[in-house]
């Protein structure tokens, strides 16, 4: 990649894959329509042309098969990056990811690694069909042994995907498809971002707003709208979580709100709220506020504007936590 190229999130996925495939010939990419077609979102565009069918190919339509064979290829020495076409279909691969990818090292007492990256576009708000809008981060966060990464900017996408591929652990890399092409920024190919390191999106003093993926721009819009100083924290790695950065921020602001697309109950916001009260209760002026989707299945798209948290709901939530 040329130095500091302007790109959007999906282009950053593509650039990270290309550079990592260039960097390490054990890196291979496959999944449904990933080869000639370049993936339904074009995340793997041009990779087959550049690296050949051996290293980038379309697979049969079977998510468990994709994940399970990628585990086998990992055990033999490859570093596969496989695509789940939509995260709503990743549940078919859930068993392979949770029970095998995440367990091989411990099962073999360090003898075998599964350096596998499972990529999946996730999240709603794009008028898609049923099962094309899910936010499954909490399921994967509960599957001990995985890293669950969600970038929100092109730079983080690029740097975190490269890091994920280089790791010897399995990583579930969820890409916010609503903001795949929402904006471009300069991406520095040399910039490294470690996993488990939250990003302070903007500093503030009155309230801490925790958001990830496509909810980060919503958080920024809400922060602009409200007459208060909002500190926005993007965990970037959902699990293992950098709670230190979050707690440090709450200790400063005394108030916190979590904003996520997944349903409320047992969403990852519940874990964040708990950790905040476990560690920062003496600094807190208000209970942790959660603005999330409701505990109902993701609707067909005529109802999705009611379902997905938006700027107005985020502003209302911030007002509640500020006025408590």
């Amino acid at each position: 990649m040329p130095d500091k190229e302007k790109m959007n999130i999906v282009e950053a996925v593509n650039a990270a894959l290309e550079d990592e495939m260039e960097n390490d010939e054990d890196v291979i990419a496959y999944g449904e329509d990933v080869g000639e077609d370049g993936g339904v979102f074009r995340a793997t565009k041009g990779l087959q042309e550049k690296f050949g069918e051996e290293r980038c190919f379309s697979s049969p339509l079977a998510e468990s098969g994709i994940a399970g064979t990628a585990i086998g290829m990992s055990l033999y020495g490859f570093r596969p990056v496989v695509e789940m076409q939509f995260s709503g279909f990743s549940y078919l691969a859930f068993h392979q990811i949770k029970e095998h990818a995440a367990r091989f090292r411990i099962r073999s007492r360090g003898d075998y690694n599964v350096p596998l990256t499972v990529r999946a576009p996730y999240g709603g708000g794009i008028n898609a069909l049923e099962h094309h809008q899910e936010s499954p981060e909490a399921f994967f966060a509960h599957a001990e042994g995985l890293h669950v990464v969600i970038p929100s900017t092109p730079q983080d996408t690029y740097s975190l995907l490269r890091k994920s591929i280089q790791m010897d652990d399995p990583v579930v890399f969820l890409e916010p498809k609503k903001t795949y092409r929402a904006f471009k920024e300069e991406v520095d190919g040399d910039k490294e971002v470690d996993l488990e390191e939250a990003r302070i999106v903007q500093e503030g003093t009155d309230v801490t707003l925790i958001a990830w993926g496509a909810m980060v721009p919503v958080a920024e819009d809400a922060a602009d709208e409200i007459d208060a100083s909002v500190e926005i924290v993007d965990p970037r790695t959902i699990y293992p979580t950098d709670f230190d950065t979050i707690i440090e921020s709450v200790e400063k602001t005394g108030r916190a709100m979590v904003l996520h697309e997944a349903p409320k109950s047992a969403g990852f916001g519940a874990e964040i709220a708990t950790r905040i009260q476990e560690n920062a209760i003496l600094s807190m002026e208000a209970p942790v506020e959660r603005v999330t989707s409701p505990d109902v299945p993701y609707p067909l798209y005529t109802l999705e504007d009611f379902y997905m948290p938006n700027k107005e709901r985020a502003v209302n939530g911030l007002e509640r936590v500020l006025d408590f």
Binding site: T69, S74, G77, H95, H100, D168, E196, P240
Partner: protein, 355 residues
């Protein structure tokens, strides 16, 4: 409506069964007397291991054990055919295969005694650790076979699975991926007639399990799984094909002479007469008869039963005497580097368990 419909055969397939003992092929096997004797010894050790594990379970040294009694020929024959550079992917009932592959007996006991350290260092044997979820391991065998094809390595991988697993989606996805990518994979189904209580005929309407290969465009073959010579022949042929990118599904017809596990009571779902019939086809019994008939049987083999018992007893004792893993090991190997979050959790838990 009256019209003549044109119907042509567009595909037809058939499945062959391989048998050696008692056929004219009996002597065609390329193995010398000592190799055959060694196979018998391994089968005897595996049999004694099974018996010992049972008694250790009754004594509370092992919590649950899945016996392989009756399946020694299938497992040990397959491992005899498998080369050192080839890979083995077990399911959970492959103790006899682990023995034949060279895993130390005491380590195998240690794992059954609840310590994962018993399956450390299996990579030296190109062998994966035991993985329980039925049928799902086949995808790892498919992936390893794909990797071999991708790298251009003339090796193969043999994955063990059972009749029950053939109902799982992962089994079918494994055959499909292997076919599409010319994986160097051999899927070895030990059809032991039962998936816990469900008999083979209620698992699938297919007349054979081997014929499922046909649907995926790969080779399928059935073998008498209690005839170790036939198993060796079938697996050798399959591996040769697989090393060249032609995956194979083998169905080894065998029988689980014991319960599913030590927690099961098979008298609830099968008749004694059936078990008795299969006892007549016990693979050790048949192989002994073969060795006797061909003048390979010796006093040494006759006395080996006792020796096997001693070996197994010694290994079991070693496993019993082995130190239990320490607290710290609970967190070892979950991640390549223990994340801060887990470091904190570990500290906290350590404090709590010591309080």
């Amino acid at each position: 409506m009256s019209c003549i419909m044109v119907r042509n055969d567009v595909y037809s397939g058939s499945i062959q069964k391989i048998e050696v003992m008692g056929t004219e092929d009996e002597e065609a096997l390329d193995a010398d007397d000592e190799e055959l004797s060694e196979l018998y010894r391994q089968m005897m050790i595996a049999r004694k291991f099974d018996e010992k594990a049972f008694s250790l379970q009754r004594r509370g040294e092992i919590s649950t054990y899945a016996p392989h009694k009756g399946q020694e020929a299938a497992q040990i024959g397959a491992m005899y055919a498998l080369g050192e550079d080839d890979w083995m992917v077990p399911s959970f009932r492959e103790t006899a295969a682990f023995i034949a592959r060279g895993a130390p007996l005491d380590k195998i006991f240690q794992r059954w005694m609840g310590d994962a350290n018993g399956q450390k260092n299996l990579s030296e044997l190109n062998t994966l650790p035991v993985a329980v979820p039925v049928g799902t391991q086949n995808l790892h065998a498919a992936g390893i076979g794909m990797a071999m094809q991708n790298r251009g390595d003339e090796k193969a991988v043999l994955g063990f699975t059972g009749d029950g697993s053939t109902s799982q989606g992962d089994f079918h996805e494994s055959l499909n991926f292997s076919g599409v990518y010319s994986a160097h994979s051999v899927f070895f189904v030990q059809n032991n007639q039962y998936a816990i209580s469900l008999p083979r005929e209620k698992q699938t309407k297919s007349e054979t399990i081997a014929q499922k290969a046909i649907a995926y465009g790969i080779d399928g073959v059935q073998v008498d799984g209690n005839d170790i010579l036939a198993v060796i022949k079938a697996v050798e042929e399959a591996l040769e094909k697989a090393r060249k990118g032609n995956p194979v599904l083998i169905e080894a017809l065998t029988y689980r002479l014991e319960d599913h596990t030590t927690s099961d009571d098979s008298t609830r779902y099968r008749e004694d007469e059936e078990v008795e019939e299969w006892k007549e086809k016990d693979p050790l019994k048949r192989f002994r008869e073969y060795l006797e008939k061909n003048d390979i049987w010796t006093d040494e083999l006759e006395e080996f039963e006792e020796k096997a018992e001693e070996k197994v007893d010694e290994a079991a004792q070693k496993a019993i005497d082995a130190d239990d893993p320490e607290f710290d090991e609970l967190f070892d190997y979950v991640y390549d580097e223990l994340p801060e979050l887990l470091q904190d959790e570990k500290k906290q838990l350590k404090k709590e368990v010591n309080e």
